[in-house]
Symmetry: C2
Subunit: 212 residues, 2 copies
């Protein structure tokens, strides 16, 4: 494993590059074949680095997965920032814009999301499970905020409650949109995001009434 003491820039850069290439290779392969379906030898071949380099950078295959997920989660958190709402913008219009932006992550980070979804369904690894839970919670919180923002002008006092009431549905639809896109790569995530925005505007309106 690499230490971080007195090292020179070039050595560090080389080490970091190798580490990154191992993670890239692992992410690509695990997204297609899954964790158990990807062997360390596969990762070595795909990254062009020998077996021993992998075990110099990581303690185990599970450690590689944890690092892949850690890096992916960081990128994901950056990518799901909701846009600010424009003044006078209707909930439906804001949701359309925000969902469209959020949908970009579906095509930009498919490998991470594939592994993430696979792990959601089957993972015995504790570290991986923890990251899955964190990513899921973050995604949900982001949707709560998005929906709250959408209704902030229409119903300032109940906007958060509307977000809470519909976030699980939004998250489910979002997950499902990703799955659909993986099954049918030619499909349009934009249409799904637009319909999701319409659905949330309607459900949010219903929720507002029930909360009144």
């Amino acid at each position: 494993m690499p230490t971080t003491s007195t090292t020179t820039n070039k050595r560090l850069a080389q080490g970091a590059r190798s580490r990154g290439e191992i993670l890239d290779a692992a992410e690509r392969m695990m997204a297609v074949r899954g964790f158990d379906g990807t062997s360390v030898a596969d990762i070595a071949r795909e990254s062009g680095l020998p077996n021993s380099s992998i075990y110099w950078h990581f303690t185990s295959k599970a450690g590689i997965l944890a690092a892949v997920m850690e890096r992916g989660a960081e990128r994901f958190f950056v990518a799901v920032e909701n846009p600010p709402r424009r003044e006078g913008e209707s909930p439906r219009d804001y949701l359309g814009r925000a969902m469209h932006a959020a949908g970009a992550v579906l095509v930009e980070q498919p490998d991470f999301l594939r592994i993430f979804t696979l792990l959601t369904l089957s993972s015995e690894d504790e570290d991986a499970r923890e990251i899955v839970a964190r990513v899921r919670a973050h995604g949900r919180a982001s949707l709560v905020e998005m929906i709250g923002r959408a209704f902030a002008e229409v119903a300032p006092d109940r906007a958060d409650a509307v977000g809470e009431a519909t976030a699980d549905f939004a998250l489910a639809a979002f997950d499902g949109a990703f799955l659909a896109l993986q099954f049918t790569p030619t499909g349009s995530h934009e249409q799904l995001m637009d319909q999701l925005a319409g659905a949330l505007a309607a459900l949010g309106g219903d929720a507002l009434e029930n909360l009144a």
Copy 2:
């Protein structure tokens, strides 16, 4: 492999029972650990039958998966029959009832759906991919019919078009609801199904206007 020629009832029954127990064990294990994460030895242990029995009933591990999926798909097709619509029932009300019924499959056949979803994301096996495609197409067709039925009275001529326009979204939300339920087993699929019904009623109404 078993032949089906001159066999007596008791022998046949015993063979069928063993075969079923192997499939049960394989389904249970693969739903949790995935295909690659489940070994033939695991299936033998879980089913209480020796290794050789498994290879007498099936030609390979991939063959077991194919049989698990085949059996699961049959059960799935039976389970997703849409209820008839009541006279005068609003689209929203019919969708609520039908979605509630459809949602039952989420809790009744979780193992099959877990494997199905895992295979959607990562399967190199041709037979398995074919069954996944069939199940997905059937599920989508069922949703098209459900939504069409919901709007059959309101707009007899455009009901089918509404179904087509919203089925992909419905399928995505349905998939996502299953995923959410797997991640949070204590969650309420009924609320998600109800919200999905509301969303489809709203989206269907929008689609009707656009089709006019």
